[in-house]
């Protein structure tokens, strides 16, 4: 295994993140703060506790997930799209590296970045609400798995995209609606019975539910299902990435 290459890609990508550390962290922190002000303080004050948790605290896991997913996707997709766009991809293709090493470097860096952002949002949330994390190890595990899976998903989007618009399309048109409709701001039990069934087809429901369970011990679906959902999503993304490198899809002429 070419560990030097994995490390080189990882360091290169992380440097890009630290070069714009202020912008990288500021935007998610500001948007999270706005969500807290609007949903937590302004509206949340009028909402009763949800499943025994104050509304302000209840939305924290969903908000972290929203940021972590979008950041993992945008960082990983940009990370691999940019070399394609400016032509430096030639170097990756001509280097003695295999697909696993390239993915490890790019996805590892994107996952690390989104993990850092998730941590910063958690700290920011701590300024607004009291957080007592019931299962910290599981919370970390869920966060880590989400970061890695969505970074992998972002990598696929970066390879698939042929322009900057397409790069924005999936996070904007798919992820944000799925997170908003995935129980980030409400419990599935609050929906009418018909919608409760429909919402179970949204994979993000399982992720947010499991993540929220690690915070408060309450969940919309059993934790086992949440773990299975994220494992399936991870496996699916990995299979697609493997296929991309095997066929050279949108990388090689």
């Amino acid at each position: 295994m070419n560990l030097h290459a994995v490390w080189a890609i990882y360091v290169y990508e992380m440097k890009r993140f630290f070069r714009t550390i202020f912008e990288s962290l500021l935007s998610p922190v500001i948007s999270t703060t706005l969500y807290f002000v609007v949903f937590g303080a302004a509206i949340g004050g009028r909402i009763e506790e949800v499943e025994g948790v104050s509304y302000g605290a209840f939305i924290v896991p969903g908000l972290i997930m929203l940021s972590v997913m979008t950041q993992a996707i945008s960082n990983a997709s940009f990370g691999i799209y940019f070399p394609k766009f400016i032509g430096t991809i030639y170097e990756l293709l001509s280097a003695p590296v295999n697909f696993f090493e390239i993915v490890l470097g790019y996805v590892g860096a994107a996952a690390t970045k989104s993990l850092l952002i998730g941590g910063v949002i958690l700290l920011t949330a701590g300024l607004f609400v009291d957080l007592d994390i019931r299962h910290p190890a599981m919370m970390l595990a869920f966060l880590l798995m989400t970061c890695v899976s969505f970074a992998l998903f972002g990598f696929i989007i970066g390879i698939w995209s042929e322009n900057f618009q397409q790069l924005q399309l999936v996070p904007l048109l798919v992820i944000t609606p799925l997170v908003f409709l995935g129980g980030a701001f409400y419990s599935v039990a609050m929906l009418p019975p018909g919608w409760q069934v429909v919402t179970l087809f949204n994979p993000v429901v399982y992720l947010i539910s499991g993540f929220r369970w690690s915070f408060f011990g309450v969940a919309d679906v059993a934790v086992g299902w949440s773990l299975l959902a994220i494992a399936v999503f991870f496996g699916l993304c990995l299979a697609i990435v493997w296929w991309i490198f095997r066929t050279g899809y949108r990388i090689k002429a």
Partner: protein, 309 residues
């Protein structure tokens, strides 16, 4: 000498049906400089891309240092440095970081002393902390070379290294290439500048429409390529070349208003002086004369004709 690059019956057809390489056979000896000459779209870049892993050949085989470029790609690629035709660099990165990145990518640990030596050799050391967008086009090209050299390749592919580069930098590049050859690096460079091949290559391969038309020692090829045409505009038209000048094989042009004389610049003598004297003796007065070097395109056309004859 041992062969370091062996290409056997290599073909590449793209998805849109365009065939860029047709059964290419090529053997490159260790330590030589081979110039791959060809017009635009001849398949030069595709051949290099197929050898370096950027594009997958449709059929055939290629080996570098005895390693198959597909089955044993890691070992093959470790030996190869590639300087691409397009200047592709991340604009916001520093020179030294992008070079360090390349070394890591090719599986080597950090070696600051080596990178300093390479950057100094390419006059880039003073610019090491500059961001790439701050560099001139010529400097960027040097960075590409530094990136290709930082993992100490045994085979270096230079794809049009001096396209759009000023004369001074071109000569600097040639010096760098000669220096690398002295260190035992095998160099394959593509170009459509015949002077470039003339200046630095040991052997020249001519490629056209995806086929290698010839691989020849440079000196021999230059003799064939050194044809020029002398155009003599006459004050009064003639019906034909005078009998006394028959052995010059003159060509009549513009309804007898001009005579064309083809000669070889690398021959023992061009015969121009004697021809002009003979014209004067025949009482033919001249209005103007002009010489024209056969363009590379004409030479290619000639070679293609020979190849299909």
């Amino acid at each position: 000498m041992t062969a370091i690059v062996e290409v056997t019956n290599l073909s590449k057809t793209y998805k849109d049906g365009f065939t860029a390489l047709r059964g290419v056979d090529l053997t490159i000896a260790e330590g030589e400089i081979l110039a791959l000459l060809g017009p635009n779209g001849a398949g030069k870049t595709t051949l290099i891309s197929a050898l370096c892993g950027i594009t997958t050949p449709t059929s055939g085989q290629a080996r570098i240092g005895g390693h198959d470029v597909i089955a044993d790609y890691r070992a093959a690629r470790r030996l190869v440095g590639l300087v691409p035709q397009e200047v592709a660099l991340e604009p916001f990165e520093k020179v030294i970081n992008t070079v360090r990145f390349s070394r890591g990518l090719f599986g080597h640990g950090r070696d600051d002393a080596l990178i300093e030596r390479i950057l100094r050799q390419l006059s880039l050391w003073d610019k090491r902390d500059n961001r790439l967008r701050e560099l001139s086009g010529g400097m960027k090209r040097r960075v590409l070379i530094a990136k290709a050299l930082c993992h100490e390749p045994r085979v270096l592919f230079l794809d049009e290294p001096t396209a759009g580069v000023d004369v001074e930098l071109r000569r600097d590049m040639w010096d760098v290439v000669r220096g690398l050859k002295a260190q035992g690096v095998t160099i394959i460079l593509t170009t459509h500048y015949i002077e470039e091949a003339e200046a630095i290559a040991d052997r020249v391969a001519v490629i056209s429409k995806g086929e290698i038309l010839l691989v020849e020692n440079k000196a021999d090829l230059m003799r064939r390529m050194g044809r020029k045409t002398l155009r003599i505009d006459l004050a009064a038209p003639v019906a034909g070349a005078p009998e006394a000048l028959a052995h010059y094989d003159l060509e009549l042009a513009e309804d007898g208003h001009a005579l064309l004389y083809h000669y070889n610049t690398r021959g023992e003598g061009t015969g121009i002086t004697r021809l002009l004297q003979a014209l004067a003796q025949e009482g033919i007065s001249l209005r103007d004369i002009e010489t024209r070097q056969s363009s590379l395109e004409e030479i290619f056309v000639g070679l293609v004709r020979e190849g299909t004859a």
